[in-house]
């Protein structure tokens, strides 16, 4: 029998039989299929995206591509669409992070109390989270319809204005954000509710005994306690906002014009609608940079607050 290190068991014995090898390298064998798949579906594609950004690769003329250096990035700087798309991206990402997180926290506080029927209420708030985003987008598109939609129907019957939601460049992004809020407020609140329920009761009671009002207890006891979770749900929302696709494509189509086109949709249409894969890849690199910078900023803010 070999020396009993952690990787070996009495059953493994000494020799180099297949069984012994499996025993010795069990953790590697267990994890390498995942490594292999990730290599094929994300690592290699990512490397190729970087390489493509320096080419003029075009889907319809795919055999005549060549390296063009920084041409794509130069074009990015002069493209009239660039500032619009970047502003849209920031607008979308900030609004779909801040609004759902603040409203979700409020909703979570309301759901924290236990009373009859609270279980059903919590479950019902789960359902939008689980509904396919494309169904959500199409349903809201129907409801935002300016003549036959329910929203203008209700607004009109109580005397509110009935705008052309999907045809107004100023309203397209708010429509996307409202629709997003329908799933993301419940999402944030369900996650934050779990955190709120984990705050030790004694802590809050002790503060209340010391004479702190409810808002003060929330601000000085509850909020610091749930801050790590708050940080994570903000980051999760953030990443979801960047990858939002059908929630825009099937709702406003990114329009009218470019008014609701964030970077994600721009990459798609540049690469696959207009076949300019090389240029799309350079947009992709800008997107990676945007995500990295903003995650870095969130991290720094979170560190400062601690």
């Amino acid at each position: 029998m070999s020396v009993g290190t952690r990787g070996q068991t009495p059953a493994s014995g000494g020799g180099l039989s297949l069984g012994a090898l499996v025993e010795r390298f069990f953790l590697q064998i267990a994890s390498w299929p995942a490594l292999l798949v990730m290599l094929f579906v994300t690592a290699i594609p990512f490397a190729i995206t970087i390489a493509l950004a320096f080419t003029n690769y075009d889907l319809v003329r795919s055999d005549t591509w060549r390296f063009v250096g920084l041409d794509n990035f130069q074009e990015l700087l002069t493209d009239r669409q660039t500032p619009i798309v970047l502003i849209n991206t920031m607008y979308l990402v900030i609004a779909t992070t801040v609004i759902p997180t603040v409203a979700g926290l409020g909703l979570a506080v309301l759901m924290e109390r236990s009373f009859r029927g609270i279980g059903i209420i919590r479950t019902l708030y789960l359902v939008p989270i689980m509904t396919a985003p494309v169904v959500v987008a199409l349903t809201w598109r129907a409801m935002f319809n300016n003549d036959a939609g329910w929203i203008n129907w209700i607004a009109g019957s109580v005397g509110l204005p009935t705008p052309v939601w999907l045809g107004d460049p100023l309203l397209a992004m708010p429509v996307v954000i409202i629709t997003d809020a329908w799933t993301s407020i419940p999402f944030q609140s369900i996650l934050l509710l779990a955190a709120l329920l984990g705050v030790p009761r004694e802590l809050k009671e002790a503060a209340a005994v010391d004479g702190a009002s409810r808002p003060r207890v929330f601000w000085h006891v509850t909020l610091p306690w749930i801050r790590p979770v708050l940080y994570v749900v903000i980051v999760l929302r953030f990443m979801d906002a960047f990858r939002k696709f059908e929630g825009i494509q099937q709702l406003t189509g990114g329009g009218p014009g470019l008014s609701s086109t964030p970077i994600n949709l721009q990459i798609y249409s540049t690469g696959l609608t207009y076949h300019r894969v090389g240029y799309a890849a350079s947009w992709g690199i800008v997107m990676v940079a945007m995500i990295a910078v903003s995650l870095g900023l969130i991290y720094l803010v979170q560190r400062r607050l601690r």
């Binding site: 059953a11 199409l138 996650l191 894969v277």
Partner: protein, 274 residues
């Protein structure tokens, strides 16, 4: 104080119920529209109740939609099984120690989780044309794993970490191999967590749109992408779209109600530990 407290309770209940109404209204729209006569589905002003009609369902069943539902089932089952088979052991390896490639895999999984799929999809699109994977379920399942595998490994690692290592060491002292100890001792203990992850993978795969929209072939188009054709450039048929949406919503609704406790815990574990 007491009266104040009661008033607060009333206000918060009112807000919760108002929120629930907003949550329910879109489902109500789907349900009502799916069983309307076609003229009522687009009436101005909207007609809330119309004589029950199954015409939308007939149009749906006559078209390619039933086929795309079958594709959805195949993709969902395939993705769930493949992701669990590959992801669960990897999660175990992560929870249990050092091995060559651990740091790299961990960092890469996190990176893949952060990056939006559009970064990977264009090269995959080019690959799949080269490898003739465009019209195959295998290609789709692989592409789905780009986002779901990191999630699975992560979640499973956190479940395995909660299982004391002494339990499997005891099994190994009794002569079980590592593989055997994993399959017969550790895995059964982690099963509730693994099942929750499985349900979350299945719901995510069932709802996925972006990947099959770009990589799905004529025969492999799932229902999420097929659905869109009913309100595309050529036809606008809200009745059929609503009926199709119902077929997408109901399985998830049932699964959510059955697995709600696990899902609540699974989602929040992802946030607390992720």
């Amino acid at each position: 104080m007491n009266r104040h407290g009661r008033r607060l309770a009333v206000i918060s209940t009112v807000i919760l119920v108002a929120g629930l109404i907003i949550v329910i209204v879109p489902y109500l729209w789907i349900l009502l529209t799916a069983f309307k006569r076609q003229v009522d589905a687009t009436a101005v002003p909207p007609v809330l109740f119309s004589p029950i009609s199954f015409k939308s369902w007939e149009r749906l069943l006559d078209g390619p939609f039933p086929g795309s539902l079958v594709s959805s089932v195949i993709i969902t089952v395939g993705t769930t099984v493949a992701t669990l088979v590959i992801g669960v052991p990897a999660g175990y390896a992560f929870a249990r120690g050092r091995f060559l490639g651990r740091r790299f895999l961990g960092g890469w999984l996190l990176f893949s989780r952060m990056m939006p799929p559009v970064i990977f999809i264009i090269p995959l699109f080019l690959f799949f044309h080269q490898l003739r994977l465009t019209n195959s379920y295998l290609g789709l399942v692989l592409a789905y794993m780009s986002g779901l595998l990191p999630f699975t490994v992560w979640m499973c690692a956190s479940y395995f970490e909660d299982i004391p290592i002494e339990i499997e060491e005891a099994a190994r002292v009794d002569g079980a191999s590592r593989g055997r100890a994993f399959l017969t001792v550790v895995l059964p203990l982690a099963m509730p967590g693994v099942l929750t992850v499985g349900v979350l993978i299945a719901i995510a795969a069932w709802s996925e749109y972006f990947i099959p929209f770009l990589l799905g072939g004529f025969d492999t188009t799932p229902a999420t992408v097929g659905l869109v054709n009913y309100v595309g450039a050529a036809v606008i048929d809200w009745g059929a779209m609503a009926a199709a949406s119902l077929t997408l919503v109901i399985p998830v609704l049932v699964l959510t109600l059955i697995a709600q406790r696990g899902l609540l815990r699974g989602l929040s574990a992802g946030a607390v530990k992720g």
